[in-house]
C-alpha cells in the first residue's frame, strides 16, 4: 500500500489570492460599472527589452539549423551566461565568483524550495514574518514543522515589525539555517550593510547557513544597501544567494534565475565533518534537473549587454517611478507608508487600526482599488497592506488619486 507524505496535509490551503479573487468578483458583479484597478499582484507588466528579444530570437533560430542546433546543455547553465553574471552582475560590486559557484535555474522559487534537499531534516530554520510563503510551506512539506496542528517544530519565526525596521533581530536560541530576503517581499524594505553584517557574524559564529533571497536587488536605489550578501565580509563562507531575472528583466513568464553556492560554504555530517555545499548542490542539480532552455539563457545574457542593461534599467526605473507616485501620494493623504524606495512594494500601515482584510474591503468598496492584505504573509503582517508598483503609470496615478479623494 503506497503511502503519502502526510506532511502535505499540514499545509494551509492557498487562501490569500483565491480569497482576494472571490471578494473582487463579488464586488464587480454587484458594481458592474466600477473600474477596478489591481495593484495586488507582484508580476511585471512591461514587455521584454528589444535587445533581450533579439537575442531570444537569434537563439531560437540556431535551434532550427542543423549547423547550430544544440541538445542537452550543462545542467549548471552555459558558461556564456555564468561568465556574464560574474563580470557584469557581481564584479562591479567587488564580488569575485568562480564559474563553479553559479548555477543557472528556471527561477528562484524552485531554488529556494529545492535547496532544502541537501540539508538534514533536523536543522532548526529561522524564517521572517511576514514572508514570501514558499519558505514556510516548503519546510512544512518536508516535515520540519512538527506534528499536524503545531507549527513551531523545527521552524523559528522572526517578527519583522515597525519596531525593528522590518528586519529580523538575531534569535535568542541557536538556529542552523536562516532565510533573509532583501529587498523584502512583502515589506518593501532593504537591509543595510550593518544589518547584514550582524547576521553574517552570527552565521559564522554558529556554523549556520544564510539563504539570501535577492530577487529584488535590481530595485535598490540608495547607497548603503548591498545588492549581494557577498558584499559583506565573510558571507562567502556562510551564505547561499538566490537571484532571478523575473522582476529584474521581466522574465516571470520566461523563467530564469541563479543560485550562488560559494565553494567555502559548508555544513556538517553527524560525525562533525564539514562538507562543501557546492558539491552537494551540484550533485542535486545534475541528478534532478536538466538545465534551462538554451534560448532563455541567451536572452538572459543579453540583459547584461550595455544596451540591454540600459533598456532593462529603464523598465526598472519606470516601476520605481510608480513606487514614488504611490509612496508620495499615500503619504500626503496622511497614511503611514514603508518601502517603495529600494523595492517595488509599498507596505502601508492600515489607518485607524483596521485589520488588513477590513482595509482591503474598504479600499475596494470606496476606491475600487485592489491590494494585498499584509496578514496573508504572516501574523506580523496584520494591520499592514501591500501595494505593488508593477503596473501602468496612468492606472497607478488614478488609484492614488482615488485613495486621496475617496478614502474616508
Amino acid at each position: 500500500m503506497a503511502r503519502i507524505n502526510e506532511h502535505y496535509l499540514k499545509l494551509k490551503a492557498g487562501y490569500l489570492f483565491p480569497e482576494i479573487g472571490r471578494r473582487v468578483r463579488a464586488f464587480t458583479e454587484a458594481n458592474p460599472s466600477a473600474k477596478v484597478i489591481r495593484l495586488g499582484i507582484g508580476d511585471v507588466t512591461l514587455p521584454l527589452p528589444p535587445v533581450v528579444l533579439d537575442a531570444f530570437h537569434a537563439a531560437v533560430a540556431e535551434l532550427g539549423d542543423g549547423r547550430t542546433f544544440r541538445g542537452y546543455g550543462p545542467e549548471q547553465g552555459y558558461d556564456f551566461l555564468i561568465d556574464t553574471l560574474i563580470e557584469k552582475a557581481y564584479a562591479p560590486l567587488g564580488v569575485r565568483l568562480k564559474r563553479a559557484e553559479i548555477f543557472i535555474s528556471d527561477g528562484s522559487k524552485c531554488d529556494t524550495a529545492n535547496v532544502l534537499d541537501i540539508f538534514a531534516l533536523d536543522n532548526r530554520v529561522a524564517i521572517g514574518d511576514p514572508v514570501y510563503p514558499v519558505y514556510n510551506d516548503t519546510n512544512v512539506m518536508i516535515g520540519r514543522s512538527g506534528p499536524a496542528g503545531g507549527d513551531r517544530g523545527g521552524i523559528v519565526y522572526m517578527p519583522c515589525t515597525e519596531a525593528n525596521g522590518f528586519f529580523p533581530d538575531l534569535p535568542e536560541g541557536r538556529v542552523d539555517i536562516v532565510y533573509l530576503c532583501s529587498p523584502n517581499n512583502p515589506t518593501g524594505t532593504a537591509a543595510a550593510a550593518a544589518q547584514l553584517e550582524g547576521w553574517v557574524d552570527y552565521a559564522l559564529a554558529n556554523d549556520a547557513v544564510i539563504f539570501y533571497d535577492a530577487a529584488y536587488e535590481a530595485f535598490i536605489t540608495e547607497p548603503g544597501f548591498p545588492r549581494s550578501i557577498y558584499e559583506v565580509e565573510g558571507a562567502n563562507r556562510c551564505a547561499i544567494e538566490f537571484r532571478s531575472f523575473s522582476k529584474t528583466a521581466g522574465f516571470t513568464g520566461v523563467r530564469c534565475g541563479l543560485t550562488v553556492v560559494p565553494e567555502n560554504v559548508a555544513a556538517k555530517t553527524p560525525a562533525g565533518e564539514a562538507v562543501p555545499l557546492n558539491r552537494l548542490w551540484n550533485r542535486r542539480q545534475t541528478t534532478k534537473f536538466n538545465g534551462v532552455s538554451y534560448p532563455v539563457q541567451k536572452a538572459a545574457a543579453a540583459v547584461y549587454t550595455d544596451e540591454g542593461w540600459r533598456q532593462t534599467k529603464a523598465n526598472i526605473d519606470y516601476y520605481m517611478g510608480n513606487a514614488k507616485v504611490i509612496r508620495d501620494g499615500l503619504s500626503s493623504a496622511g497614511l503611514t507608508v514603508y518601502g517603495g524606495v529600494n523595492a517595488p512594494y509599498i507596505w502601508l500601515k492600515t489607518p485607524g487600526g483596521l485589520s488588513s482584510w477590513d482595509f482591503f474591503d474598504k479600499l475596494l468598496t470606496e476606491c475600487h482599488v485592489v491590494g494585498t492584505p499584509g496578514s496573508g504573509f504572516g501574523p506580523s503582517g496584520e494591520g499592514f497592506f501591500r501595494i505593488s508598483a508593477f503596473g501602468n503609470r496612468d492606472s497607478v496615478a488614478e488609484a492614488v488619486d482615488r485613495i486621496r479623494r475617496r478614502l474616508k
Copy 2:
C-alpha cells in the same frame, strides 16, 4: 551548526560518462588521425521542425509587445498546451484525460525525481536493473537505500534480462511503488499490452502506484505496444505517467515535459485514509515550481499541429531508420542485438562473453566507435552494450560498416 543531508554521501560518483570521456580522450590523443564516431549519448541531433520553430518565434515576439506580453503563467501549464495533449496525444489512443490531470514541466528528469516528494519515505520501491540512473539516485538521496554501504533498504531491484525479455517480473514480496520505463532506456525494448496488464493488476491488488516513464513512446513502430499506460484498463486508478518533448520533438535543449496524475490515483495516510495524488502533486508544483517558459509551451503545442506532427514524425522516422541500419548491420555481422524496433536504442550482447567495458575498449580501438557499456546502467547490464540511433545517417552507416569489417 547546519547539517547536510548525509544520504548524498551514499551516492556513487557519476562514473559512466566521465569514464567514457576519459577513455575516448586517451585514445584520440594516442591516435590523433582516428576518426571517432560517437554513438554513445542519448541526445537528439536534428534541428527543430520549421512549424515548431515558427511558433517559438511568434511567442517570443508576443513577449516583446506590451499588448501581448504575459508574465507568470499557470504553474500547471497553459490550457492551450494541455488541451492539445488531451486531443492530439491521448484521445487518438482512446485515452480521455481531464485538464486538471496534466501538468506541464521542464522535463521528465525533474518530474520523475520530484514525484518522490509527495510520498512517505517508508514506501518500498521497485526499480528495474539496468535502468535510467535517476530513478535509483533520487531514492538514495532521500534515504530510501538504508545505511551507507548497503543498497537494499527500501529499494527492490528487478533484473531485466534476456530470460524475461528485459521486462521486470512481478516481485515476490510486496512493493508500494514501481518504476516502469517503456520503451526502455537502455535496453531498447517496449512493453507489450499483456505485460503492462500484469503490472496494473498487481498495482490495483496491492494498492501500489506505478511510475510509468514513456519518454520514448513516439518511437514505437509496432502494434500491440501501448504508447500510454492508460491504454490498459484500470491504469487510471494506479499509474502516474511521464512524457517528454525531449526525444519526441528534439527538445533536449528547449525543455518541456508533462506528467499525468489521474484524479482517481490515490495513496494512503498512516491512518489508512486514501488521498488523491493529483491534489498533492498540484500543491507540490504550485509551491515549488513556477511553470514552463511561455514560448517553449507554444513551441510544444505546435508539435501536435497537423504539419508540425508531419515534420516531427519525419525526424523520428529518420532516427528509427538509423536504428534499422544499426540493428540489421550488427545482426548480419553475427552479433546478438535487441531493441531498435520500438526505441532509438540498440541493446547489443557482447560477443564471446566480454565484459561491457572490455567490449567498449575493443570497439573503440578496433573500430573507432563509441557506445555505452551496459554495466553502467546496473549490474544486470553487464555483458551488454547500448548503441544510440540519434545521429547522422552517414556516420551511423560508417560505424556499422567498420564494425562489420574490423571487429575481430
